[in-house]
């Protein structure tokens, strides 16, 4: 029997999937996202975790922070292991040896999702396994010391794309991971951010009820790697959404739906200036980021109106 806590008149599952005492940095937006996801998932899940921050901070051998069955895999094969577990559950159910409706959830960071684990994820999506894939995107390889990934945004300074006199840092644009997943024609794709906890939890619950693969891309503010203050984590997530840099939307059976209709976007500068990784950007570069964000958001809006 689950107990609940009332938060702003809404009932929230009091179950903590990730026990306190985990070793995430203080103010970790990703640990917060995992916690909220856990509240939405409940206890009848098996979690497959790729290598990354969430693995190292929660599984200091011989202890674990997890309150649900959890398995650690390599960077590249979280989706493959999840596929195997899901196939195993189906086989046992067919034989009548297992009658639970246990959901398999694979999770990884942006590196494990958009770089190293992309082909295993693509395979699992294509084979239509009944699982949820959750990408906790903190926009670089944070646990090894902030190396750039394909999800690192344009202009960000990381240890492998350092800003200097001759370069602005990361010179490529963030890979559009939700669109790549949507191209597999999966039933449910969504973006979310822990700064909007109820939106995030309702998306996870929706994914729970999907029969087939579903994908949730969660922007996770990382004060350590983004070089921002720890108390501004929630505010930064909100700004990412309101500037249109990380819009919240869902793709249900190919139909786009914007969760927050914004007629006027906040200027991207508001978001960028709070982070040390963007501190070096000139007004011209910021203007070019603004142009790109506006164009991307317009495209997304158009997709939403067309479908």
């Amino acid at each position: 029997m689950n107990t609940t806590v009332t938060v702003t008149k809404r009932l929230v599952n009091s179950f903590e999937q990730l026990a306190p005492g985990h070793r995430a940095c203080l103010g970790c937006g990703e640990a917060l996202a995992v916690r909220l996801v856990g509240k939405a998932l409940g206890q009848n899940v098996i979690i497959v975790s790729a290598t990354g921050c969430m693995e190292i901070i929660s599984s200091q051998y011989p202890f674990t922070s997890w309150e649900v069955p959890w398995i650690h895999t390599l960077f590249e094969n979280a989706s493959a292991v999840a596929s195997g577990i899901e196939a195993g559950i189906r086989a046992l159910s067919r034989k009548g040896e297992f009658n639970e409706k246990t959901k398999v959830v694979a999770m990884g960071g942006d590196g494990a999702t958009s770089d190293i684990g992309l082909q295993a994820l693509s395979g699992a999506l294509e084979r239509r396994h009944n699982f949820i894939y959750i990408c906790y995107d903190n926009e670089a390889y944070m646990n090894t010391g902030v190396q750039r990934s394909s999800a690192t945004p344009y202009g960000a300074s990381t240890t492998t794309s350092p800003a200097s006199k001759i370069t602005i840092g990361q010179t490529t644009w963030k890979k559009n991971m939700p669109a790549i997943v949507a191209a597999h024609d999966v039933p449910y794709v969504a973006t979310a951010c822990a700064s909007y906890p109820f939106d995030l939890m309702s998306k996870v619950q929706k994914a729970m009820n999907v029969d087939g693969p579903s994908y949730i891309h969660i922007l996770s503010v990382c004060p350590t790697g983004w070089r921002s203050s720890t108390e501004s984590v929630i505010g930064l997530g909100r700004l990412a959404v309101r500037t249109g840099i990380f819009p919240l939307y869902e793709i249900e059976d190919g139909r786009y739906k914007l969760n927050m209709q914004m007629d006027k976007l906040h200027p991207v500068e508001e978001y960028l200036k709070q982070q040390g990784r963007f501190r070096h950007l000139s007004p011209e570069v910021i203007a070019s980021i603004q142009t790109r964000v506006n164009a991307d958001y317009a495209k997304l809006k158009e997709k939403a109106t067309r479908s």
Partner: protein, 293 residues
């Protein structure tokens, strides 16, 4: 202390405080003087706020081949006074070594608990850093205290490495180090050993561990006290609280709990002091207070 033997340093700090940079600066200063030196950190996956270690070895004339961590240091430096009560910083400290502590307390106050068969040096580096640098980051400030207490490196030798590392911010860092050098107070060794911090870590023996790295007790990492990482703690003023629960939902640790009377409070055993709850509280119920004050 002389340079004819290898002098080993152990730095105790928190992730983000710059213990690693401190160690690097000492090594570079020693190398600048023509000595041989090494500097390296040791920490787990945790970053900001968690206790970390950094090490140095310095020798006047012979290259240093040993590469392991320092267990019997000649010099122990404590960057954060909060660590004194949770870590046995004096572990393995050699006789006639040096223990350098950053603390707002005076030497005579600290003598009682930390004097032993070693020299005890104390400086209020946080105060100096706040004054000179505007932030409570004490890594360069403490360099001045260490140079004074250890006496094998000259204060001037730090200037080059600090300039190289800090660029435009170097002058204020050099001033802070010099001020610490002047203000450091040192007490000579005494015969008695002080009371030590007992560090309890319950680890299962190898016979109890299952093959294949299987862990069968859910949530067992709960015993890990992340509250030790905290530099600020939460203070709730319930007179304004509307019990909305936003502090609960936005806590990355999951350490804010609802009491039977409906009010929320943070569990100090786990709270790392990130300040998210204080920022997100719509009624300004929560304030963050410096741990040392």
């Amino acid at each position: 202390m002389n340079g004819q033997q290898t002098t080993e340093f152990r730095w105790h700090g928190r992730g983000g405080q710059g213990a690693v940079t401190s160690a690097e600066m000492i090594a570079l200063a020693a190398i600048e003087e023509g000595k041989f030196a090494q500097a390296f950190p040791s920490f787990g996956p945790e970053r900001r706020g968690a206790p970390v270690l950094a090490f140095n070895r310095v020798h006047d004339s012979i290259p240093i081949k040993i590469r392991s961590g320092v267990t019997n240091p000649d010099v122990v430096v404590v960057l954060d006074p909060g660590l004194l009560t949770i870590i046995d910083v004096m572990a393995g400290l050699k006789e006639n070594g040096v223990l350098v502590i950053n603390s707002p307390k005076s030497l005579s106050e600290l003598k009682k608990d930390y004097s032993g068969p070693w020299n005890l040096a104390v400086v209020d580096a946080t105060k100096i850093a706040r004054k000179e640098l505007g932030v409570p980051i004490v890594n360069t400030t403490m360099l001045g205290a260490v140079v004074k207490a250890v006496g094998i490196i000259k204060l001037e030798s730090l200037n080059g490495p600090i300039k190289e590392h800090f660029g435009a911010r170097a002058p204020s860092n050099i001033t802070a180090a010099r001020e610490a050098y002047e203000q450091t107070q040192i007490a000579p060794p005494v015969k008695t050993m002080p009371k030590r911090v007992e560090v309890l870590e319950v680890l299962p023996s190898w016979q109890e561990i299952l093959p294949g790295c299987v862990v069968t007790s859910p949530g067992s990492a709960k015993q890990y006290r992340t509250g030790d990482w905290r530099s600020k703690y939460t203070d709730f003023d319930y007179s304004r609280c509307i019990k909305c629960g936003l502090c609960y939902i936005f806590c990355p640790e999951g350490c804010i709990e609802q009491r039977p009377d409906g009010y929320f409070e943070s569990n100090k055993y786990y709270c790392k002091g990130c300040g998210i709850c204080a920022t997100e509280c719509p009624k300004e119920v929560i304030s963050m207070i410096e741990e040392a004050s």
